[in-house]
Symmetry: D2
Subunit: 489 residues, 4 copies
């Protein structure tokens, strides 16, 4: 396993192919530092003996101890640990831990590469390619971003119907050495600080769309690959330092005839497995949300409870009702993931096919529970922001700047008038509101809301997953029997 | 284990002490038949080899096979089975199975009788009394109603502050043979068809209120005990018979100087254990709701999905969004109970005391998960009725009576005009809407909504439980650390 | 103007063509008495000098004083008065006053009969027919039901696509004397106690569907017309009499080759005007809801506030928040209708055509405000029931029957234990909960919820009306300008 | 009336007493320019002949034409015009027009200065002082900020109970020339660009709190007055210029022994009138929200509808349902204000006193309708942001910077991949998303949400106003009569 320092040093060896505000930047640019903080923490935690039981795992390939973010889930126990690791780490960095996408994509590709080979009667070696890549991923302790979402062009048209075929990433050339792909993947979180990028399809595909059924991994500075990065950082502070500076960075990842050698190709042309890959990545990723969302709920709870305390209204029934609402969302989200973990097996319900068993591979969390949990927590994002706003009052929106707070003339006034709860040091009240503002009225907060709502699939996507996979017929039959209806239709 | 027939025969041996519409009635009165249907089903199911794995258990006292509704949970596995049995049986009878209260009360009393004895340094024999009673309960396979809710008089006053001290049931006399109690317990479901009634306190109590800290079991026709019953049945049908006729019956149970011999007294005067008993019964009962509520969700789903199909709108996106909402509520409720079962142990978090371990006794489901689940499904009751109303349209409200439907002159007209989906036999469409009306616009439906909202504790009660038991301080500390605040307060 | 007695006497002269539970019944059948109470009140009120300013109007035809329920709105002032009359009368009878449909249909037909004649270049005399009929309607002070909703068969198919063409009422024959129609109109409120029935189309129609574009009025006992009635009454009471016994009655109105003479035909074959008629009736009817819904809100408020008082929790912040929510819905609904009245004119916005001026005729309330108001109050139905349930607790669901309450043995017990707020006579507390139950857990309540949700158009119908009529382009242009976008598309 | 240029020139004559990020700044500082844009627009509009009918009024003092923002409402017509002016101007500047506070405060002070004089039996000359000040305000066409909200210290303590008496602004000295005040008013919008500041009390006051019952107006650069400003601007743009650059600026306004001469004092010591002043300012201000909130609804609608169009999903039923929701909120908010305007009179319902007529003065909008409208639109803030997020997808959160968009190498890629709807120029799609981001994920957006939720009173404040002023007894009486209850209590 690498240290945080080795990880950053490795990043620095890469070619510059990242643009920020129109300029090519280095991977340790000031605006990426907070993001490196966050990912760095995944290395530190794996080294920490107290956290190793959650943050490391034993590779089923090599038998070696690896970072759990590189692991293929072997059992419900692994799923439970991943959920709990995620909740713990997200609490520690103050939001999204940013490294689950590589794990989630690997678990999906592990399955579909095997299944595609099987369907091809052994004519392909996707799974062998993948296992070789996986071994390296685990040994080198890599950070892997997953590039799934295509730009999608006209939303009501399928990939094959788009006026511009590149609106979904696809294979534009194949030769003996590998494949060439073109397209643009968007909202790719942490792609700018990842060692590699795993590409998977966005959606289900038809037979005509087999060129879009492609999965592979490449270094994030591969030839022909350009990133336009949009970092989201906590506001820089000179005074009133935080306990942890959080950041994340999303990229547009543009593939302009990028070459991928065959031994890095894990799917190429099998449209059904392409769709399955999209579905499985989403599923594993929604399971990750059963860890991070409750952690964000913990932080939201802390913000709300402290805001009430600073404002001196923590005993009001209205406040308690709102705190209960935050707990309810966080813990129902956790319970959904817990149940999905416990019921995990090497099988998945595919719309129109029922439960489908998969060959030796990843333990798959239960899809219904992953989806109802992610849907709930996604739908709650703006509701929770409203609760914070309601309890806080207007303070976060108009709070003085830190430069005001250290100005000699203003300081006495501000300390006098910012003191609400006389039992709490005013310095702490100031730090609290500054941090509260970071997570509510800053541009970071605005962006995080969008990430929390849409990331891993918007609530409407989970609703579609839920209704297409649920056994609705069974429920109709219950009612038909109770109502005395005939069973003939 | 008894059969349904033996159960009913035993009921018929009791004294008449039940009033319905101002008349004393027998326990097999026409208006109680549907309720007997429901409870009878718990005997049939235990006999059914296919259901025995869920519906029976091995007594930890006698080692014999008993009905699970008489069982003290020994492990998380038992909690899982109780949840799954409840969901299964509620699906089969079409709503509340009506027998969990005895089990839930027994599990609570099992703990507090032991703890009270321990606190009394062996000066009392509550637990011995209870175990003797329990052995009989299990061997005779009794139906036990739990009488918890007092009339409560002035809601803002405590029991000891009421102008009329009987507004909460309490001990009015103690002698060498036993105790004498007076009071009135309301909304006591199935008390009219129960063999015995277990009485437990409604709420936490102060030292001055020790006379209210009383738990005991008595036959439901005990001297001095009068019931006023309000049955809730599906509407009688002559034609278009249902698959199952559902009913329930709530009683006002009036205690007018009822004598209870000491060997049936499980608590008498220990106010702290009285409050704990109230809390524990509520907790076990909310765990039961993690089984029944998802079952009601299954039925709601079946009603909604069939209504959409009969109306020919099952493919509309609006309908799918609503179906997803029903699934979400049912399965989050189930997941909460599942997680509470898995995390069950002989310990409970008491407000102000943190997690408290209990001596040998029942496996207690996790309280936070029981409460967030019950709260969610309680809050959803009217929302789900709105979904059903929205999908059905006005049909259920104005549907012809069955006498119209069999009238020779009207029948051709009605069959012509009631036929919506031409792929479904009109007879089935008629049966469907009649049954749909039973569960939406009948007085039964109105009553069931109230039961589903308030039964086992209204959502606001769960909110109070949640906020008083949750570790909010831990979440504050997370934020204090992230915000860079001092740890000094 | 007639008296209530004259109205009932006139009803008794009609042929028996109404079925209830498979039997032909007279129009003063026990089950219709409460409905007659309600409609009768509209006659009493018009006679009452204190209410005459709202309940009567001056006919624009004859100049005579007529019941406002027979009036063609001449001005915004008339619309205001109709709204306020409706709110007042609904408060007095305790729910829907049940006579607005005739007024609403007349106002719609007044417009479209004129416009159709104009479009036909004077080749038809619909408007003349209508005015003659209107004069009689006003002079005889008739109760007219409006039959709009067809059974509709397969919902995703248009009228002309139905396997059975009768699923929408249509003209099956035309001759020199009149037309012959067949079909079935459902949920026709008060048709069983109406003097006449006005038939209008359900929806917009295509040119192929001109046989469905038909509007006319006939006596409610016309040859070939059969009704199947479903009354919805407050539960009969022997003791504890109410201040007003409310009832309503919906009919399936079956037309089996019903002949309509030409002088009662107001539209026949003009498909565009058929669609417009459907739209206009809905609009006038939604305006009526701006009177009745606030009245129901007033009653809901009274129920909630009294329940809180009886329960002794009227000062709780939670209760006040819920009362505020009821006020908000009622008064926003009223304000929407008020604004729609003030902005009323002889013009309407038609989807795809913008605002269209109409010839001399009715003053039309603003459509957007009518629709946003009706939508809000429709969406609130189940939410308000939840508030009532929350504040009341379980009492209404298990309350003793009146026979129990007058039983000599039970009475002392029940009066002792039903007494909550010691400041209110227990007799009043009993009357209160009995009435509360009528409007929450009875089958009447269940039906009224469906009526309140779907009557006059379900919320989704108002949403469609809103988005199709609103000037969305104007709002897009505002944003295009602010964003600096080009105006070229 | 002044021009925008004269207004800014006048501001420049003031003393520097405003801090931004720890530095004293001039009133035309770069960060205040967008705010000046907005306020400047109120001068331009009054000069525009097409807008003069709304934006100007005839002074009831001088008879001269004045800016409507300086006017005392004389009639319901004035209230209608103020509402419509506000909606129009807010649409034009893209959010809050920022000048209503002066008008709202003046209308409140106009009433209470008169009433206090009357109550004092002519011993004071508050109203004369006020009218003199008003005449100057109108003639000089001043911008006046209203300083109401105090810092409030311990929220559960009254002003007189605070450990630090300055937590609410109060009189610390009185002498023959005037009064001296100390305190700090927060969230004072536009105080940094106002000519004067009108101070009014925050809340109802007891007799002991008469020093807090003070109202006056002073120049915004008065001796002893310091502001700490927090500007909220649209992000600066070098390329892709907007049609209007919106900004606002909130101040902490610190009063350190500020002297106010008697002729600028409009209330000093009358605690009942102090509370009334707080109530009346809130009421007039909530009426203003019935203009601005619908305008923000118009912009939200434009954003949502265009986002749907750019994304090519404008025909989806889900989108239409969401658009309907935005319309519903905006137009119900407007209708509430419209009704409040129409029902306006020189009287107000005071909790505990019923409707109270006021002497010659302002026309007061109906309080219930003002409050239900403001409450609805306040509660909708985060719901509407969720709708925008849902329709937009992730694009706004990760959109490239304008520097990326003009970079030669990136531009071809970005234009290719940002093109969604092929019917709309990609340049316009870019401008659209940049502007959309301004109002959703920027720090400005975060702040505006807080302003929209809390400004003029949080929803909970309106709920309190509603329940304390509504005639709940009347509704109880309706139900008592219908239920047959006695009238004796």
């Amino acid at each position: 396993m690498r240290t945080k320092e080795q990880y950053v040093a490795d990043l620095m060896k890469m070619k510059k192919n990242i643009y920020y505000k129109g300029e090519k930047i280095s991977r340790d640019h000031e605006e990426l530092k907070m993001t490196l903080n966050v990912l760095g923490h995944t290395f530190d935690a794996a080294m920490d003996p107290e956290k190793a039981h959650l943050c490391t795992a034993k590779s089923h390939l090599s038998g070696e101890t690896i970072n759990r973010f590189c692991h293929i889930h072997q059992s419900p126990e692994d799923l439970h640990k991943k959920q709990d690791m995620t909740r713990m780490l997200c609490r520690e960095v103050g939001y999204c831990i940013g490294r689950c996408m590589g794990a989630d994509a690997s678990n999906a590709v592990n399955i579909i590469s095997y299944e595609a080979d099987k369907a091809n009667g052994g004519a392909t070696e996707y799974h062998k390619n993948f296992l070789r890549w996986l071994d390296n991923f685990q040994k080198k302790d890599l950070v892997v971003a997953c590039a799934q979402t295509d730009v999608k062009g006209e939303r009501m048209l399928r990939p094959s119907q788009q006026p511009d075929p590149d609106q979904y990433l696809h294979v534009v050339e194949k030769n003996s050495k590998g494949i060439v792909v073109t397209g643009c993947k968007v909202h790719i979180t942490q792609a700018s600080v990842a060692d590699e990028i795993m590409v998977v399809p966005t959606r289900s595909l038809t037979e005509e769309e087999k060129d879009y059924a492609v999965a592979f991994a490449i270094p994030s500075d591969a030839e022909g690959l350009t990133q336009v990065v949009h970092p989201h950082n906590m506001r820089a502070r000179k005074h009133f330092k935080r306990g942890f500076d959080f950041g994340a960075a999303d990229s547009y990842v543009i593939f302009d005839r990028v070459f991928v050698p065959w031994d890095r190709v894990f799917l190429c042309g099998e449209h059904l497995h392409g769709g399955l890959c999209a579905l499985l990545f989403a599923l594993f990723h929604r399971h990750s949300y059963s860890g991070c969302k409750p952690a964000i709920g913990d932080i939201t709870m802390g913000l709300a409870a402290l805001a009430a305390e600073v404002n001196g209204i923590e005993k009001s029934a209205r406040v308690k009702e709102k705190l209960a609402s935050i707990i309810q969302i966080a813990e129902l989200g956790y319970a959904a993931g817990y149940t999905a973990s416990s019921l995990g097996k090497a099988e998945m319900t595919i719309p129109g096919m029922g439960p489908v068993p998969f060959g030796p591979g990843s333990c798959i969390p239960n899809s219904i529970y992953c989806n109802v949990g992610r849907c709930l927590t996604g739908e709650a994002v703006f509701h929770e922001q409203e609760i914070l706003c309601d309890i806080a009052g207007g303070v976060p929106a108009t709070f003085p700047y830190e430069q005001d707070l250290v100005n000699e003339e203003l300081r006495p006034y501000l300390e006098k008038y910012l003191k609400r709860n006389t039992k709490i040091p005013v310095e702490d009240q100031i730090r609290f509101w500054l941090y509260f503002s970071d997570l509510t009225v800053s541009s970071l907060a605005g962006t995080l809301n969008y990430a929390s709502f849409h990331g891993g699939g918007s609530p409407v996507m989970e609703q579609i997953a839920i209704t297409s996979q649920y056994n609705i017929q069974e429920r109709k039959d219950i009612v038909k029997r109770l109502a005395g209806m005939s069973a003939s239709w």
